[in-house]
Symmetry: D2
Subunit: 338 residues, 4 copies
C-alpha cells in the first residue's frame, strides 16, 4: 500500500503516521519527494481500512498495490478451477458449456418441451426463471416453487442439470434440494447478505456481474461466497450499463481474458440479456467463444412472441441449434470443443 | 403506447397485431408512414409487456407514452406527501430535515455522544449503521443488534428519531421495533424481495438510489414498496457512478426538481457518500438546499481518523454545525427553514 | 415522429399544434389517450427540430420513429458498400482487412522496418501516427510531415496502403497527396468542421467512434462526411469509456451486428486502443472476427518498451503473426478469409 | 511516481529498471513487498511516459503521485486568478458573473433585443452562437460571420461583452477582433489543434467540459491553452453523459469545490445545456451559486417555441430575471454578490 501526504505536513505528523502503521505490524519505507512524501507499507495490508487512512487531513492519496482478494486470486491458485454442475464440468481448457432455456418457466409442459429442444440442439444444461426480478411490481413475478418443480421434471426428462435464480434466503432449502447451479442475478451481485447465505450452500453458484460494477467488485463478491466456504463459483457476464441506446446493455467481452489473468474461476457469457435483442445473439455468442469463454447461457423459447417475459431476446430452437453448430467450429479452431 | 413496425410488414401481420391488442381491451389507431407504420394504443397499457411485443419480428420499436408508475406519480396525487418520522415531518414546503451521525455505530457510548453533538449542532435525526454493506468480506460488517440497541439508547438520551440500514428480511421485526426510518441502501435498490418485505412494514422507508439506476427505475422501486401497502417513502440521492475519479460518485442534484415534477414524495440528499470526501460536503449541502431538497443526511464523527468506516467523508461536529448554520440562511432565502 | 402533450392541454392549443405541422407539409393524426394526447406526424420530419417542439410548454415528449440518417442508412442502400483503399477492398462478405503498425512513427527506418514485419505477418495495410492527439501538452506530439513522408516511403518499400490520423484542416492537401485512408480520431468524431472538410476529400475516411458517443451519433458523423460528397467511410470501434478500471476502455463488439443492420458501410475493430493492454489484444481480435467485423487495426512495434507512445498496448511482430494466423482460421469458419 | 513489478521479476531486470530511471535524472527507492516490489521515483517525472513503462512485461502497475498539470495547478499558484473579460472580472471571491443570451443568433435585431432584456434583468455578458456544432448535417449550422457582427452590434447597444463558440482555426482573426470571450465547446475540449491555436490568442477562453471527460483531462486541456501563452482560461461545466434519461446530461456540481482545490482558475456553470429543460434551470442555477460557482451562463430567448435551436432549454426574460434576483440573495448569504 502506498500513501502520499501533503506538502508541508509537519515532521511530527509524519512520525505519528509511521508509528501507527508499525504498531499494526507493517514495515514502513518513506520516500521524500519534491511536492509530496510517500510511504510504502509492506506486510498484511488487508488489516488497513483505506478510508480511515484518508480521513487524516495530511493524507493526499492512498493506493493499493496488491489485489484485495485472496481465494479467487490466480496469484495463489495457478491452476484453472473446474466446477462440477450436476456432472457437467465447467472451466478448464476443453469443453465449452452451453446452457439454454426460457427466461421464465411458464408450466411443466413448457419446461420439458423446451428442455428437449435445448438438449437436441446441443445444449448441456437448462436455464429457467421461477423467481423473477422485475422492475415493475405489476409485471409477472414468476411461478415460484411450481416453476422450480417444473424444471426438476425437465431434468428428469432430459438428464440435464438445471440453473435458476435465487432471490432470497428463505428459498435456500428449496434450491439446495432441486437446483444444480444457483444463479445470483445482476441486481443482487452486492446483496452481501445473500452472498453470505449461498457461501454456506453445497451447490455451485453462477454469479452475474452487476449492471455497473467493476471487475474488481465482481471478484470481491465471489470472494464473499468463497470466504463462506463455497468455492464453486462461476462468473457470468451479462452486459453493463452505458449510454448506448441501441442495445439493452453493453456486452464487455474483455472480461474473459482479464478474469483468466486475475482469477482461476470459470467465466460464461450471457449474450441474451447483454444485448436484449435476439438478432444480436448469434454474433455475440461466436465472439464470446473466440474470446475464450468457458460457456454460454442463452435464452431459448419456441414461441418468443407469446413468452411471458423477455421474448425480444429469445432464440427459437432452430436459431439456437445454428449457434451451437457454428460455435463448435470456432471452439475447435482455438483447441476446445462444445 | 406507440408501436412501430418494419417497412414491408404484410397487411395480414398488421391486422393480426391490431386484433391482439384489441383483444386486450385496448383501442388501436394505425398511422401509415413512409418508412414505418405506427400503432397508437389507448387504454390500460400496463397489461402489455414491452419485451413480448418486441419479440414480434415485424416490430421495429415500442415506446411508452405514460409513466409506468401510479402510486408514486404526481399526476394522480398533486399535493406533496409529508412523511412523519417519529414526530419529525419530512417533505412539504417548510422545514428541511437534517440527519447526522456516524457511518458505523461503534458502541452505545459513541452513539449517545455523537447524537448529542448532532442535536446540539441543529440536527433533528440520528443516522448510524449497524448492518454494513461492505465490498470486502474481510472488512468490519457492523455491530448488528448491539448497534441498533445503542442507537435506541441515543434516541432515549436525545429524543431524536433514528435511521439505519436494513439489509435482510430476517431483521424486519427488530427494525419495526427499534428503528424510526428504515433505510434501503443503494446496492439493494433493486432487491425486489426486500422491497416487498418493507412494503408490509409500518415504519417509513428511506430509499437510496442505486449506483447506476435511472430516476424512473428508482421511482419504480418506490412503487414496489407502495404497492405493498407502505406509502411512506422518502427518496435519498447518494451519487451515481460515472468515469470521474476525483470523487467517489457524482452527485446528481437535478433529481430534486425532477422528482418534484414526477412524484409527490420527499427527497433528501446524502453529500457524504456522493462525494466520499469531507472537504466537498459543505458546498454540496448548501447546493442541495438551494436546489429544493427536503433534507440532508450527513456523516458526522468526532474522531474521523479513528472511525471504523468511511472516516474520509465524515464531518467533525463543528464543521457539521457550520453546515447547518449556513444552510439555514439559504433555506430562508428560498422561503423554507431548517 | 410522435409527439405527446400534457393532460389538460386546451383544445385551442392542440389545434394550433396541428396547424403548425400541417403548414410544414406533414400529415397529422391525433390519438386521444387517457392521460395524454398523442400526435403522429407522417412526411419528411427531418424539417422539424425536436428541441423546438419541446419548447412548447404543453408538449410532454417527442420521439422519432425514423432514423435521422439517410445516406448511411441500410434502409435506402441494401447492398454492402465495399470501400477501395489504395487497391485493398474493405467491406463485403469476403476478405477481412488487417492493418498493423506503430502508434507513432519514429523515423523512416522504423516505419519501413515495421511495415515489412506487418506485411510479412499477413497484414495488408500500414497504420502509423504522425500527428498525435495527446492529453498532455508536454507529451510527444508526433513527427508531423516527416512522419507522413516516412510512411510514404514504407508504402513504396512494401506496396501496402497507409492510414494515418488527420487532426486539422490545414493538413488536408498533405493527406490528399500521401495518405490512402484518412483517420478521424475518437476525440474529433464530433469536430464537425473537420468532418465537413474531409467530406470534400477524394480519399476514403476511417471514422473512429468517440469515447462516449452512441452508435446513432457515430452514424450521424458518417452522414456529415457523406453529405459533403465523400461516401467512402469505414467505421472503427475503439472502445467506449465506462467505470471499469482494469481496461483503458470497454470494447463494444455489439456494434458489429448493429452497424450491419443499420448501415451499409464497413466496420473494423481496434483492439489495441480499446483495451490498452497487449495481453488482451489476441482474444479481442479473434472475438471481433467471429462477430463479423470487416477488419482489424492493431498496434505493432518491434520494441514496445522503447516505443515513443502506447508501448503497453503494442504487439511484437511474432504475436501479431499469431493473431493473423488464428484469426484466419476463424474467418474461414464463418465463410470469409483474411 | 510509483511503479510495481510482478512477483518473480529477476533481479537483473530490477537492476535494469533502476538504472534506466536513474539515467533520466530520477532518484529511485525500491521497497520489497511480499507479492510485489515497488519503486518510488523522485524528481521531474513529467519526462516519463507511463504507457512506455507499462510496456515492460515485468511491470504490473504505474501510478502518478503528482498531478500532471503545472500552470493550472493551485499548488504553484495559491491565489485565485481573476480573468478580465471586456472589463467584467470573473473569479475571485466577490461578484458572480451572469451571462445570458440565445442559443443561436438569428438576426441583429434579435441579438440586440435579447441583449437588452438580459442586461435589464441583471446579466453582465451576452452569449450567442454564430457557429453551431450540430449532430445532424441537415440542422441549422448558424449564421456565421453575420451572427458575430450581430453580437458586436448588441455589445455596442448595451455595453456588455460577448461570448461565442469558436469551432475552427480559420475564424481566429474574426474572434480576436470581435469576440470578448472565446468559447471552446464540449465536443472540442480535446481538439488539441484548436487548443494550441487559442493558446496564442489574446482574448480569454471559456473552456467547456467534454461530454465524458474527467476533471483531470479538463484541467490538462486548460494546461494546453496556458502552455501556449494564454493564461486567461475559465472552466465551464455543462453536464456529463450518464445513463439517466430524464435529463439531457447530468450536471456535476462537485466540480466547483474540486476545481477550487486543484486549480486557481474560475469556474462557471451552464445549467441550460446540462439539463436540456428550462423547468430545471432555476433550481440548478441557485444550487450552482450555493456551491461556490464564479458565474452562470444561461440560455435566454423571448420566444423559445420559435427559437432556431435549443428552445426547450431557454428561459424567457422574466424567468431569467427571477433567477438573477433569487440567485443574488443566495450569493449574499455566502458572502458574495451577483
Amino acid at each position: 500500500m502506498i500513501i502520499s501526504t501533503k506538502r508541508g505536513t509537519p515532521a511530527a505528523e509524519l512520525d505519528k503516521i509511521i508509528r501507527e502503521f508499525e504498531a499494526k505490524g507493517l514495515s514502513v519505507t518513506m520516500i521524500r519527494g519534491t511536492d509530496y512524501n510517500v510511504f510504502g507499507l509492506v506486510g498484511d495490508t488487508t488489516v488497513i481500512d483505506e478510508k480511515q487512512v484518508r480521513a487524516n487531513p495530511y493524507v493526499e492519496n492512498v493506493q493499493r498495490v496488491s489485489e484485495p482478494y485472496k481465494k479467487a486470486n490466480r496469484l495463489f491458485h495457478e491452476v484453472d478451477s473446474i466446477i462440477d454442475v450436476g456432472g457437467i464440468k465447467v472451466g478448464g481448457s476443453e469443453k465449452i458449456a452451453v446452457i439454454g432455456g426460457p427466461c421464465s418457466i411458464e408450466s411443466e409442459e413448457q419446461a420439458v418441451r423446451i428442455a428437449r429442444e435445448v438438449k437436441d440442439a446441443g445444449g448441456c444444461m437448462l436455464r429457467g426463471g421461477a423467481y423473477k426480478p422485475r422492475t415493475s411490481p405489476y409485471a409477472f413475478q414468476g411461478l415460484g416453487t411450481e416453476g422450480i418443480l417444473a424444471m426438476a421434471a425437465a431434468r428428469k426428462a432430459t438428464g440435464m442439470p438445471i440453473v435458476s435464480e435465487l432471490m432470497s434466503e428463505d428459498k435456500i432449502d428449496e434450491f439446495e434440494e432441486y437446483v444444480d447451479l444457483v444463479q445470483i442475478g445482476a441486481r443482487n451481485m452486492q446483496n452481501f447478505q445473500l452472498l453470505k447465505a449461498v457461501g454456506k450452500m453445497k451447490k455451485p453458484v453462477l454469479l452475474k456481474r452487476g449492471l455497473a460494477n467493476t471487475i474488481e467488485e465482481w471478484i470481491m463478491s465471489a470472494e464473499y461466497i468463497m470466504a463462506g466456504g463455497n468455492e464453486n463459483v462461476i462468473f457470468c457476464e451479462r452486459g453493463i450499463r452505458t449510454f448506448e441506446k441501441y442495445t439493452r446493455n453493453t456486452l464487455d467481452l474483455s472480461v474473459v481474458p482479464i478474469l483468466k489473468q486475475k482469477s482461476h474461476l470459470p467465466v460464461i457469457i450471457d449474450p441474451s440479456h447483454a444485448t436484449g435483442d435476439w438478432r444480436l445473439v448469434e454474433s455475440m455468442s461466436l465472439a464470446a467463444i473466440a474470446a475464450g469463454a468457458d460457456g454460454l447461457i442463452i435464452e431459448v423459447h419456441d414461441n418468443p412472441e407469446a413468452a411471458w417475459s423477455d421474448g425480444a431476446q429469445s432464440l427459437k430452437p432452430e436459431k439456437f441449434r445454428a449457434v451451437v453448430e457454428k460455435g463448435r467450429k470456432i471452439a475447435q479452431v482455438i483447441g476446445r470443443d462444445m
